[in-house]
């Protein structure tokens, strides 16, 4: 599996990761090596084999639908790097113009 730096930049964009030129070079090499190894899975015939997305009970247990105390607004905001009045502060992401 050949992986180009352009592919790596595209994945970085999807993953919301800023990468330095050194990192791009290193990751291109590392990811290519790993992808080359995992290509061994192709030798297995898995037609008709189900996916194992989860181990264990398939039924989701339900708890009683009762009100209980949750995290207070102050506690939820306490770890945030930037806050506004009662809210997480983030850069604008909707163009209202």
């Amino acid at each position: 599996m050949a992986l180009s730096q352009k592919d790596v930049l595209h994945i970085a964009e999807l993953a919301d990761l800023a990468l330095s030129p050194d990192e791009i070079e290193r990751l291109t090499r590392d990811l290519a090596a790993v992808l080359q190894h995992v290509a061994q899975l192709e030798e297995l015939d898995t037609s008709g084999v189900e996916l194992t997305m989860h181990i264990g009970s398939s039924q989701m247990p339900l708890r009683a639908d009762q009100l209980r105390p949750g995290l207070s607004q102050d506690a939820a905001l306490a770890g945030a790097p930037r806050v506004g009045p009662g809210a997480f502060a983030v850069p604008k992401f909707v163009d209202e113009g």
Partner: protein, 505 residues
């Protein structure tokens, strides 16, 4: 007995309950040992005053005649991936700090607003939490070298790795600073460092222990588990932390076993399987001899031996590194500069530029590598070839275990192909690092419980001191009692009675 830290967990609890030892003096001894072994890098945060306060509270309750819990006064180290409401939590990452350029004490590490369920259960059992243990960033690593702050070192030889990702948890117990610890195991992160440091480490069945408050890495694999110096100590810890939790819907509603009592059962009549594929090329000959000899000892104690075939073992590494990274790429999207830790403004004033700048600065190399691999495996055009394919092969690996457990009650195998390697030795080659996880990954993919029990040590040579060798025992889902029975039987028969690193006893 020179120090209360030389006692086993059950012995110590008995003395604290009986008043022969105070929780405060045990805690002071633990904090002093943490200080004396600081160069091993086991801790990212030391509880100090809070731990002493908790210990005095336990002593006062005893003085008032109250009954104390099953971990009364036991000093416990907690992997820094578990949320603690009275201690900062970094998961070994700079992205959970305000100032990524500062040493950890001044970095402004994130303070969780609540305790993980397992932490709450430890506190309720009267354990004393002495500190947060070092780890590979977000549990991604097998050597603890991916900690964003400093590596942890193996107490048997500080030039060598302690294993990972729960490296600090293993070092804390092996060096005697804590009597027990909690780690998390996604692909071997409890068993492997326990093996390399010579302590007992248990990865419970997937779903056995609540993960509420565990910083998630790969949600279909992550499991919290205990470490201790001996099997009974680990059994008692697991009994305290295991069991259903209303705050974690993936936590199994299966009654908790009597793990400590199971340690008295013996192994007579147990069917012990030796998986052929775990002894193939790549296994260090000295480790192979030691492992086979331990298996013969178990046979001598009454186990019925048979060889079993687990033909998909060699696909474990590929399967794991696709499934785990895919899940990680999704789980770690929550670290985006909004709710906790680091925030870096981007070059443009839009939210994606902020995400990218924050994550680019906050995550280390290995975390970026895994997010990238996982994102790729899930991306349009590659999903079927990588992610779905890996999830199908995972089914084949799980079937290997299901078939084996039709014939045998437990499996015995090595933990890792080699003893602990030197720091820095494998950093340049991530694939070589991944391949060394071959013996621990399949059980994680199948969700079965596994345990490391120290087997002995390698022979010291002029360029390598004696290093611990671990024996891995695996059983079917929720058969932890079988694991404890066999591990305790081995421990009692082990030729090397005392297994402590050179400078700690």
């Amino acid at each position: 007995m020179s120090s209360p830290l030389d006692l086993s967990i059950p012995e110590l609890v008995e003395r604290v309950r009986g008043g022969q030892l105070s929780a405060e003096e045990v805690t002071r001894a633990s904090l002093a040992r943490i200080e004396a072994t600081r160069a091993l890098g086991a801790f990212l945060h030391v509880g100090g005053a809070r731990a002493l306060e908790a210990a005095r509270g336990i002593d006062q309750r005893r003085a008032r005649g109250e009954a104390l819990g099953p971990l009364a006064g036991v000093p416990i180290a907690i992997k820094d991936a578990l949320c603690t409401k009275d201690a900062p939590t970094s998961a070994g990452s700079r992205i959970l700090t305000r100032n990524p350029d500062a040493p950890i004490e001044e970095a402004g590490v994130w303070q969780p607003p609540y305790d993980a369920t397992v932490i709450e259960r430890l506190r309720r059992a009267d354990a004393v939490l002495v500190g947060k243990a070092n780890m590979d960033e977000f549990a991604m690593g097998s050597s603890n070298e991916n900690s964003a702050f400093f590596p942890a070192r193996n107490p048997w030889d500080p030039t060598r790795i302690p294993g990972g990702s729960s490296g600090g948890s293993a070092v804390a117990v092996a060096s005697g600073a804590a009597l027990g610890s909690l780690g998390s195991d996604t692909g071997g992160s409890i068993r492997q460092p326990a093996g390399l440091c010579g302590v007992v480490g248990v990865k419970p069945t997937y779903g056995r222990v609540s993960r509420y408050g565990l910083l998630a890495f790969a949600s279909s694999l992550d499991q919290v588990g205990p470490m201790a110096r001996d099997v009974r100590g680990a059994a008692r810890l697991l009994e305290v932390i295991a069991g259903p939790d209303e705050l974690d819907s993936t936590c199994a509603r299966v009654p908790v076993g009597s793990y400590e009592r199971a340690c008295e059962r013996g192994v007579r009549g147990l069917r012990l399987g030796v998986p052929r594929q775990y002894f193939e090329a790549g296994l260090d000959p000295e480790l192979e001899r030691a492992t086979r000899s331990a298996i013969q000892t178990l046979a001598g104690l009454g186990c019925e031996l048979s060889e079993v075939d687990m033909p998909h073992t060699k696909y474990g590494v590929s399967t794991y590194y696709l499934v785990a990274t895919a899940e990680a790429s999704s789980n770690l999207s929550r670290f985006d500069g909004v709710r906790f830790g680091l925030r870096r403004d981007g070059e443009r004033a839009d939210i994606h530029a902020m995400y990218r700048a924050t994550r680019g600065r906050g995550f280390g190399t290995e975390v970026k590598r895994r997010i990238m691999l996982g994102t790729y495996a899930l991306s349009a055009g590659y999903y079927d070839a990588y992610y779905a394919k890996a999830q199908r092969v995972r089914t084949l690996i799980a079937r290997d275990f299901a078939r084996a457990f039709e014939k045998v009650d437990l499996l015995a195998a090595p933990i890792m192909p080699t003893p602990a390697f030197r720091l820095g030795e494998r950093l340049a080659d991530p694939l070589a690092m991944y391949l060394a996880d071959i013996y621990t990954l399949p059980a994680s993919l199948a969700g079965v419980p596994g345990l490391n029990v120290p087997l002995g040590t390698t022979e010291a040579t002029p360029d390598r001191p004696a290093l611990p060798i671990g024996l891995q025992l695996l059983a079917s889902h929720h058969a932890e009692e079988t694991l404890f029975a066999a591990a305790a039987a081995w421990e009692a028969a082990r030729p090397l009675r005392v297994l402590r690193p050179p400078e700690t006893h």
